[in-house]
């Protein structure tokens, strides 16, 4: 392999630098460079990108890689291959592993596995509380030293507000963002979907928006009062967005830290109506809500209340999902379909521009964890993705790199296809 790479004639879109032009992209070693010398160019491998989009590799702030502990669902190896196939070059993995990532030793174990098996950049998070039980602070300082980029109880919302307050307060010492899954568990006990017309019809127990809104409000208030960098995961409720707006304004006035939020492709694509057939692929938390919520989420992205898109990639084996609705686990696969789905529901549907979408999936999430990723700036890591917007592809089980196939898009045809993904100048995914 040559040390030099020339991606020729693609449409380069780099929203971080406001760049959108047909041009060549140059790579020297593992870095993006502005140009190659004539002799370097002679040596360079040339990739014809005519008709393709060339954009920074996507950044996902919310990936469950399941290793250690649940390697029948996913491993760091399979999960990063799935990510690469989806055009991602950086993923932030959640700490709800077995054992949970609540100590420096487990973080080291994860980092070792990343070193050995990951094909892209994986940044671990550490727990906020010991065992993710929400009762006792995790050694957040040691976790930071071990290399986590954020702290979160990953999928579990701390119910005790005193513990949450102290965790948030303590984490600010290390300038670590706090990620939270906002859910008042006393309102969702035994619930499996959004509370509304469809839960009544299907006879399934419904989670009210209030369960999300209340915790969003609590977290926003704690963020404002402690100056913590709070990031609210997978927001799904229209009213939660109003709470976030209100709080962001207050925080801005105080010039304190930012309050950010993410939205998933599935909350942008689906509503509770999709549960009509009791298909467990649609069983996620927070649940798929109403069309009004879905529209509000799109508007939240457009007006900046929601900072970025995150997949909440939550692999589960087929055996686990193949059950009565009540008994199946929450979560769906997301890495491989994320861009196509968002392109479909945001860009093709006429809500947003391609450049906006790429921004929500690249430098914007990277900024939340304060990493110089998701850009094609000169000197940055040569992490980029080639996309064929004209292509369509069918989502099939065989097509998945992920060990799990719990995707509601199975059997569907999606627009726009990632054709190549490069990480540090190396080809880590190529559509064959």
């Amino acid at each position: 392999m040559s040390e030099y790479l020339c991606i020729k004639g693609g449409r380069i879109i780099d929203p971080a630098n406001d760049r959108d032009e047909v041009a060549d992209l140059y790579v020297k070693g593992d870095k993006i460079v502005g140009a190659l010398s004539e002799s370097e160019l002679k040596e360079a491998s040339i990739v014809d990108a005519t008709g393709k989009i060339v954009c920074p590799g996507f950044v996902d702030l919310h990936t469950h890689l399941r290793e250690p502990g649940d390697t029948s669902k996913e491993t760091i190896g399979s999960g990063t291959m799935a990510a690469a196939a989806g055009g991602f070059t950086t993923v932030v993995c959640m700490p709800n592993t077995k054992p949970p990532a609540d100590n420096a030793g487990t973080i080291q174990l994860i980092l070792d596995a990343i070193e050995r098996t990951a094909v892209i950049n994986v940044l671990p998070t550490g727990c906020l509380t010991a065992e993710r039980e929400g009762e006792k602070l995790a050694p957040i300082g040691s976790l930071e030293k071990a290399g986590v980029v954020a702290v979160t109880d990953g999928g579990h919302c701390i119910q005790n507000t005193e513990i949450m307050r102290r965790a948030v307060e303590y984490a600010t010492m290390f300038d670590l963002p706090i990620f939270d899954h906002c859910e008042d568990a006393s309102l969702t006990d035994g619930c499996v979907m959004h509370e509304g017309e469809w839960s009544l019809k299907l006879g399934l127990r419904g989670m009210p928006r209030a369960a999300e809104d209340i915790m969003v409000a609590r977290n926003a208030i704690l963020a404002e009062q402690t100056g913590a960098r709070m990031h609210l995961q997978h927001i799904a409720s229209a009213s939660a967005l109003d709470v976030i707006r209100w709080s962001q304004k207050r925080i801005e006035e105080k010039q304190g830290a930012r309050l950010t939020a993410e939205v998933t492709p599935h909350h942008l694509a689906f509503t509770h109506e999709h549960l009509a057939g009791y298909d467990t692929h649609f069983k996620v938390v927070p649940p798929l809500r109403t069309e009004d919520d879905r529209q509000a989420l799109i508007n939240g992205l457009l007006d900046g209340t929601i900072e970025c898109i995150a997949t909440a990639h939550a692999p589960h084996t087929e055996i686990q999902k193949d059950h009565e609705f009540d008994y199946a686990p929450f979560g769906m696969n997301g890495l491989e379909t994320a861009f196509s789905v968002c392109y479909d529901v945001l860009v093709k549907a006429g809500h947003a521009s391609l450049n906006q979408l790429i921004g929500w999936m690249t430098y914007k999430p990277a900024a939340i964890i304060n990493r110089p990723k998701g850009t094609l700036s000169e000197g940055s890591s040569a992490d980029f993705t080639l996309i064929d917007l004209e292509a369509t592809w069918e989502v099939t089980e065989e097509g998945f790199r992920s060990l799990s196939h719990n995707s509601p898009w199975l059997g569907q045809t999606l627009p726009a296809q990632v054709t190549r993904t490069y990480y540090r100048g190396e080809l880590v995914y190529s559509l064959s």
Binding site: L200, K201, G203, H323, E324, D326
Partner: protein, 318 residues
Amino acid sequence: MTKPTPWKRKHLTGIEHLEPGELETIFETAESFKATLTRSNKKLPSLRGSTIVNLFMEPSTRTRIAFEIAATRLSADVITVSGNASSLVKGESLRDTAMNIQALNADMIIIRHSAAGSAKYLSEIIDIPVVNAGDGAHEHPTQALLDAFTMREHLGKDLRGKKVTILGDILFSRVARSNIWALTKLGVDLTLAGPSTLVPKEFEKFGVKVSHKLKPALADADAVMLLRIQHERQTSTHFPSLGEYTSMFGLNQLRAGYLKPDAIIMHPGPINRGVELDSKLADSGRSVILEQVTNGIAIRMAVLYLCGSYKDQKKGKA
């Protein structure tokens, strides 16, 4: 009144997707079966030679026995598998249990399960007809059919414009849901009543009225259907106590006075005497509770017969 339409379904997993004409078909079939119930020889040969498995993953003595009797009257062999007693289902998934039953050459499965959607899930796994005997808080189609059948006998075959009130725990009730679908399809003016925690306003989206005040809810009703009230784990946060419920929503002599004079009182059983229903009212001439039980046999015979004949059609074609 709608005309009966030919039965083309393999499964009966709920009422929601049935056409009004299909309901009439079931009623007509049940009427002819009901006429045979009082004969000395009650057996009909309709399902002779077929094996029906009564898969009760959640206990219910009444419904199970009613289905057993209905199947026996049609000369089918019935095997009941109870979720908590059988080794067949111990630690085994519903899929595997179903596959086993099918491998044992059963011709039909009747399923009762605590999880909503499980009857539909089962129907997607196996090749033989599935009859839903209650899935979580979703549907209990044969109960709604027997309820409507009983109303037809008392209020006239055309139920359009009749005022019916269902009173009690609607939120967790599959009986209520199936009745909402059945009765609205038949043109009934339906009101759901009970405490706001158990009767959410959102039910109005299904074409019914919701009321938390008993007087207007019961005024001039042709029938009132009570649901069993339980104050257990599931509902303990939904209302303060059984005593409070009875004082606010229990049907007593005074409140029964709001009904039309010849209105009927219904209950799917088992009754909590003195909780949702005054004991004397339960035994009064207005109560049709035991008729409902008897009609349950005819309705279930009709459902088993109709879903069973689907299988014959298929065999005939092959």
